[in-house]
Amino acid sequence: MTSHRNETDRILDRFLQELGDPVPSVRVRRSTNRVLENLGGFDTVLDPAARIDAFPNTPRKRRWVPMAAVAAALVAAAVMVSTLSLPSSAEPIAKRLNGKFISSGDTNSISEGKVIRTDISGSEVLALRDGSRVEMSESVELSINRATDGIQVDLSKGNIIVTAAKQHNGHLYVKTKDCVVSVVGTVFSVKAEATGSRVAVIEGEVHVQHGDVSQTLLPGQQVATNTEMRAVPIQSEIGWSQDAAVHVAMLQQATAPASTPAPAQPGTVPANPDLLGEIRSILAPVDQGEAGGPIEKNKAFFNSLWERNREAANMQQLTFPDFNNWATPPNGFSFAIAGFQGRTISFTNSKGETFSYGCTDCSFVVSENGVSKAVTAAEPGVEFKLSADGSTLTATCHAAPCSMGRWITGMSWTKNTAAPNAWGNSVALMISKTNTTTPQTFTIATSQLMRQQGGFVLFVVSKPAGQ
């Protein structure tokens, strides 16, 4: 009885303590900036039909009925919403994220059916209402329309790369003059020319309907609707993308020889984690004569990885993070998420060792020596948990303070001199944790791990003295 009471109090105390934990400033700033951008840039926010009641002083039940309705209406007006709340024809169906935009009545918000064209500079990125992202190359012409169960991109000409959001109850379609591509969450390229269309898959699975023929494509596969359109290396098909390195890395992972570990059964986490041949080959230059300490090793690894991606994508040299400014604690260690596929996550640590792990629904700890079960691991490390739908990965400092940061393509990584233990503002995501008694959980959208703006997610763990 007493032990039950103690357990109840312990759970409650922990909950109360977490309520009072500070929220990382970087996260707060990023989120509030995004909200301000949405408030200023998305015109559905002023839908006159969505009546907003003044803040009431009425009893709770009476208050929440209208507020719930208003909340639902307002959430539906946000940039990223599910396909369940497709807009009326008067509301924007997409929003431009950057680039030059050639269209009559150039605006940030794109209404249904509006024809969008890019000039020879390309570089237009659109965010669809379902959370999908469409990157347009040069001379693209398309419009975005509602389908019966989702959104349809009508591509008249040009090359686009679609990063489809996970579809809850619908589909995302890309329609050219001679085929329809349907997806439920993947990354693929579609090129529409006068002679026909070509579809190439980078990640996931797409269904292509061409006349009476239906075909399913997997990563690395492509199909053309006309034999005059010869097959091209997918790397060159997507080489124009600003995220080419990321897409190529995803493609390489998806098409690498099967070395992914089988899903682990409860209680059978392997003592010796699997190695990824893909990462091994990337590491080869590092293993050859690299005699530096952890930081040097890490630097060499990432330079190696980056060089590989850069060469594959035929990109120009970009600034690489200066790992001399990335201070691994003397008694600590660091590691990075090197890849993500399905439910398997691959890591590399500051010693240049690689390991991967995948499971259907569990937590595990990445420590200096590899992977172990969360409930039994006593070593300092980072505890990871992939959500059931695979959309988010939570990371929690385990038995030691830790930090996390992500390096973004094209940005330099600088040390924040004002806060020596933190990274600079050029890091898009930085969360640090110094309190060992109250583990703080970081949530990362897996779509951000290897997609979108790219980059690598790095972790630094400070081991307590004596360990």
Partner: protein
């Protein structure tokens, strides 16, 4: 149909509104984050709260004392979001409740946290408000009493009852699991 001039008005947020946003948005977000427990919902709550403020902004007397309004709106909106998750937790993730494998412990801890958030959302509005002022923002009983115009004793009793409610939720949850 949205009128064009209305759209244009939105694109240029009033300076005063933007100023209020910049001054208070972090407070709103932090409150929402702690109540909802995740960044996505916190961002939604922040957007909803400021959107509501924006809608009433031109004629609103809230402009003179926005913080009190924003705090209450944030708490209410965030708790409403948590309430709306209840169905999801109890149905879609019911499999989490069924496993007793030791390696699933962290799942259950997460579920427990979510159940406690729902229990918090089920408190009476004023009790929830007091609870959040105490445990999210760290105000003392006296400070909360001053803020809400009530006595320290009333605050202490409210917090005691709220904690008891949460303990009961924990025990109920544990009972379901055993």
């Amino acid at each position: 149909m949205i009128a064009t001039n209305t759209i244009l008005a939105v694109r240029q947020l009033p300076e005063e509104f933007e100023s209020i946003f910049r001054e208070h948005s972090e407070f709103v977000y932090r409150t929402a984050y702690r109540v909802t427990g995740n960044a996505e919902d916190a961002e939604d709550v922040t957007q909803i709260v400021f959107l509501k403020l924006f809608r009433t902004f031109p004629s609103s007397d809230i402009r003179s004392k926005p913080k009190a309004y924003l705090y209450r709106a944030t708490v209410n909106t965030a708790l409403n979001v948590v309430r709306s998750r209840r169905h999801h937790v109890l149905t879609d993730q019911s499999d989490c409740f069924e496993s007793d494998a030791p390696w699933r412990r962290s799942d259950r801890e997460e579920d427990m946290q979510e159940c406690l958030r729902i229990a918090l959302a089920d408190l009476k509005p004023k009790a929830a408000e007091i609870f959040i002022l105490r445990y999210v923002h760290g105000y003392s009983d006296v400070e909360i009493g001053n803020l809400l115009g009530t006595s320290r004793g009333t605050i202490a009793i409210s917090l005691f009852r709220s904690r008891a409610r949460l303990r009961k939720s924990i025990r109920n949850y544990q009972g379901e699991q055993s």
